[in-house]
Structures are given as structure tokens and as C-alpha cells.
Symmetry: C2
């Protein structure tokens, strides 16, 4: 029996979906639902395609009470720039949670992922960063470096931002963009230790496989969100820092154990505090997060299927008439 | 950078893709590629959604030398018939194997799965059934019962077909349909033992959780394809039959161990012949299949991602202009 399927392109999505407090609230609700239980979120399906220098990840999550569930496919083909194409692409498919019928196809080339990933950074900052953030710092100079600072600024309207990257030209370009986007002082900085020392909120957005932030750089009142690690072997924060923090918080423990900062800490035998709290448990008040302005907090974001389901159902609910309808 | 994406509906697919020797050859090539190695086929991603009496499976496979790879999503929501909707739905997404870009969306509601599943039955019959099949039997009365007999008839043009099901009315309806479709004698039969005794080729197409075919029904020159089991706990063939057969062949050993006939035989401790051959290895001549007309052979089909990639790349290559083009 044929039914209507909504098809929305990246260009159409960019017109209607933005990184704002609405999307932050949508992603916050997804993490809270994860803590309430009943979520069905299978392990990420992953293909390494060495032959073509590519990888493909598939994520999904069913959240009780949500009208739909999303399945997201994220291909990364790293030779694409040689032929003028972006490395990252992909789409989200939204299914009815009642009938399993396809409702929407979001041909977003990763745009919704960018938004839901940045929004999770805002959720982490809202619940874990100190209330007063004067200076924020970002390590990394790509799309997420910009989006994470925009997201954090929504919930902690800092007056100054510092940017560190291996390539100072890229760091300066990122700082310049952030100065325009946020209307605040922005500065590229060559020394990551100095960036951490001057910041109350730091976000790491790199694909690094060696720690970029040392444990002895931590200082009272610091919050770090590490969102670059999303694959086995990636590591942005020195394992000892996780133990030194007053609160180390995972988006999803089972994912952080295999592809987040916790992986390296477990492998090094450094982590001995048992099961860390999850961001959703902090939001739901089930576990404590930051308990004083002097606490040191770290949030480890690997990216979860609930974020995809949350952003996709939000887009469907708010913009049901966007795009093209195909009867199939 | 926007690119063109082909979107093809079930109705459009039904006009151009049929169960014929071309599709059988396409699926045979996929199994042969699996045997050649280099295929990347991650475990099936699966969600059990008890709350809504649903399940969702995601399959994929990258095959070296194929232009694309498919990701298939198959939701089954078993309360749908109560509101007039089919239980099974879903779609296939075809990605470029070179760039990871989305090339085609096949909104097939499971039609391509039906075809590639039946085609695998024909491949099994072509390589394992005795050359002369006078009578074929099918246990089960659904869509696949009809398609499996049509598929087998393409490669073994038998003169008579027997149909057994728990519901004799459904068995008679299926027999009547097969008589018209194939232009041969067709008969519903109440006794499955009699069906097996009179047939040289038997296909089981049920969701049974108890064996339907007993080991002591096997007779020289019999081939059985068991294609109903695709989930842990399903079982159509008595475990002792797998040992008694001259050749027991898996579509993919790693899948049959957890969701095929092999699962029950391993659980019962009955299977002691080591790693069974795979259908692709028989096709490629790497392992022996049937060695005489008196051999007893069993093929266990759980459904593989290579079949999805093969049918999807075939449809793309042959019918690139079908459907609607959306620039995204």
C-alpha cells in the first residue's frame, strides 16, 4: 500500500533547521530519555573499507514516546577531496515508531549530524560548565570547532574565545569566523596549555590519536567537552585527567568504553572509578554532575543514535511540508 | 556539493525488475564474490521493539569490484495488519563504492528483498539440486512459497508442485496460483512427509520454531533449501538431518550459526562436521557440493547483505533513468 514519503535536501534543511536553543532542547530531551530507560540503541554498525580509503557508520535508536526513529548512514571517503568532493556525506531516514513505514528522507550530507553534535556540546556545557564562563577555548579548527563554540555560547555567553590548531593559519581563520559569528573577541593561540589555563570551558574537536590536553593543565572551575573521539584508537585527553576530574561524564558509557576517552583510560589501567555517570543521568538529576564552581568536569561525547532520532523527529514535526513528497 | 539522487518507488521497480534468469545470475555472482574474499559484511544490525511488536534489521555488504554498496533497512511491525497495513516495509539505499555518495533510493517496501531472496533459492537449486527434478515441494504458503517455486522452476523446470501448509485453504490457494504461474500440475497436500517423499526438490519458507522436516524423511536424490530461518530460535529442519545429508551448505556460516538451521544443530550438539561449506564456495568450485544424483543436499539461506548490494547495483546499472531525480 503506497504512502507519502517526505524527501528533504540539504539546501532545504539549511533553510529551516538551525543551531539554536530549540535544537539544544531537543537534544537535551533525547539524553534525558536515554536515562529514563526503555531506549533500544544497538551498537553502531561499522564498515572499514580500506580498499577505497573509506568507512561507513550506521546509527539508530528507538526512544519510547517519540513518534519516529531515525536510521542514519554516515559514509566517510577520505580520497574525495582529491576529486573535489567532501569526505563526509550521508542521510537520515525517519520511520514511524508505530508502523515502521518510511516517513522522511533527509538527504542532509551530514548537516543534521553537525547540528545535533554541536547541540550535544551545548547540553554538556549547560549541565556541567561553571555558571560563569568568561573565556572559552576550542582545540581544532574545522566545522565542529565553529559550531561547538556557537553552541556553547548559546548557554554560556562568554566574552572571549581562544582557538588552537596545529595549523596557525587555520586557527586564525577559525578565530576570525567566530569573532564575526558571535560578535566577541577571538584569538588564535599557539600554546594549548595557555588556552586551557585561560579558559573555563574547553572543547576538543580533533581526530587526534595522542592526548592534546595533559592532566596537569587542569585547574579549578574548568569544564572540558571532548567530542573528537568517535572511533577506537582516537584520544584527546590524557587518561589521568579523567581520574583527576571531579566528574567525568559519558554520553553513553558503552560507547565511550570502545571509542571515547574512556577507552584509552581503561587500556592504560588508569580508570578505577567504576561506571561513570551518563549525561542523561545528570540532566535527569539521577546522578550529581558539577557540585561547586571549583569542580573540574569532563564530558566525553562519542555521538549517539538518540540524538539522530531526536533531531529527525523534530524536523519532521516542525517542517512536515518541507521538501518533496513522493508516493511509494 | 549537490549531486543527483535517483528515487524509485515500489510500483516503478515492479515494472522493471522481475524474478528471471538475469536476477538469478546477479545473485549467483554475489555469492561467488563472497567466496573470492575481500567482502566487508558486518553483522546484521537488529532492533527488537517489543513495545510496538516490531523489529528492524539493517544489512549491508561491500563487494570488491561492484560499483556500489547497498544498505537495506527492513522493519517488521506485526500489528500493522490490524490497521490495514502490511507488516513488512523498508527500503534500500545504494551508495557509490568510490565516493560514498548516495546514488539511489529504492523505496521498495521489501520488493527487492523478495526478489533477491527467491533468486538465492534458484542459485541453491542450480548448484545443489539433482539435474532431473520431476516434482518440487514447498512448505509454507506465503509470498516466498510462490516466489521460491517460480525461482526453482527457472533452473529445474519440474512438471509438478506440491504445497503443504498448516492451513489447507491457504495451501490450496498457493497451489492454484502456482498452477497458473507455472502452467504445471499443482496440489495441496496435508502430510509433509508425503510431500518430501514425492519430491526431489523441497523448499521450506516458514517462520517455524519447531522442525517441520524430520531426518528420517530424507531420501536419496533429495535437495532441501531451508530459507525461513532468519532469526535466532527459528528452525525448520531437524538437526540430525544436517548430519545425515551428504552436503549441508550455508549461505554464510557466521549467520547460519546464529540464525539459521545450524544454530539448532549446534545447540543440540548434533553438528560435528566442522565448518560447513558456503554456497559461494560451491559456485566457485572451491568445495564440492552434490557429487552424484543420489546425494542428499541441504542449503541453509539466512539472507546476506551481498544479495542486497548485488540487486541494488544491478537495478542502478540497468535502470538508471527510472524514477525521479532529486538534486541534494
Amino acid at each position: 500500500m503506497a504512502h507519502d514519503i517526505q524527501i528533504v535536501t540539504e539546501a532545504e534543511l539549511r533553510q529551516v533547521v538551525h543551531l539554536d536553543l530549540t535544537t539544544v532542547d531537543v537534544i537535551e530531551a533525547a539524553f534525558a530519555a536515554l536515562a529514563r530507560g526503555g531506549v533500544v540503541m544497538p551498537p553502531i554498525m561499522s564498515m572499514d573499507l580500506h580498499e577505497v580509503n573509506g568507512e561507513v557508520d550506521v546509527k539508530t535508536a528507538y526512544i519510547p514516546g517519540f513518534d519516529g526513529f531515525a536510521i542514519k548512514v554516515s559514509p566517510g571517503f577520505f580520497d574525495n577531496p582529491k576529486i573535489g568532493l567532501p569526505s563526509l556525506n550521508g542521510l537520515m531516514i525517519l520511520f514511524s515508531a508505530r508502523t515502521g513505514l518510511v516517513e522522511s528522507l533527509f538527504l542532509d550530507n551530514g548537516y543534521l549530524t553537525d547540528i545535533r553534535t554541536a547541540a550535544a556540546g551545548a547540553v554538556a556545557a549547560r549541565h556541567l560548565a561553571p555558571m560563569m564562563v568568561e573565556t572559552a577555548g576550542v582545540i581544532g579548527t574545522g566545522v565542529q570547532a565553529r559550531l561547538q563554540m556557537q553552541a556553547a555560547h548559546l548557554v554560556r555567553p562568554f566574552a572571549r574565545v581562544l582557538v588552537h590548531g596545529r595549523d596557525m593559519d587555520k586557527a586564525r581563520a577559525c578565530a576570525s569566523d567566530l569573532a564575526s559569528l558571535l560578535g566577541i573577541d577571538a584569538e588564535a593561540i599557539a600554546d594549548p596549555a595557555a588556552l586551557v589555563a585561560q579558559s573555563q570551558l574547553v572543547v576538543t574537536t580533533t581526530p587526534s590519536r595522542e592526548p592534546l590536553i595533559r592532566a596537569d593543565w587542569l585547574h579549578p572551575g574548568l569544564h572540558i567537552t571532548a567530542m573528537g573521539s568517535d572511533q577506537t584508537g582516537k584520544n584527546e585527553i590524557e587518561p589521568a585527567a579523567l581520574m583527576a576530574a571531579d566528574a567525568y561524564v559519558c554520553d553513553r558509557v558503552s560507547q565511550c568504553e570502545v571509542s571515547g576517552e574512556l577507552e584509552a583510560a581503561l587500556a592504560a589501567g588508569v580508570w578505577t572509578k567504576g561506571t561513570p555517570p551518563e549525561l542523561g543521568e545528570i540532566i535527569a538529576g539521577q546522578k550529581p554532575g558539577r557540585t561547586s564552581s571549583d569542580d573540574i568536569t569532563i564530558c566525553d561525547l562519542t555521538g549517539t543514535g538518540v540524538q539522530d532520532t531526536a533531531i529527525a523527529t523534530h524536523v519532521r514535526a516542525r517542517f512536515a511540508k518541507a521538501g518533496t513528497i513522493i508516493r511509494a
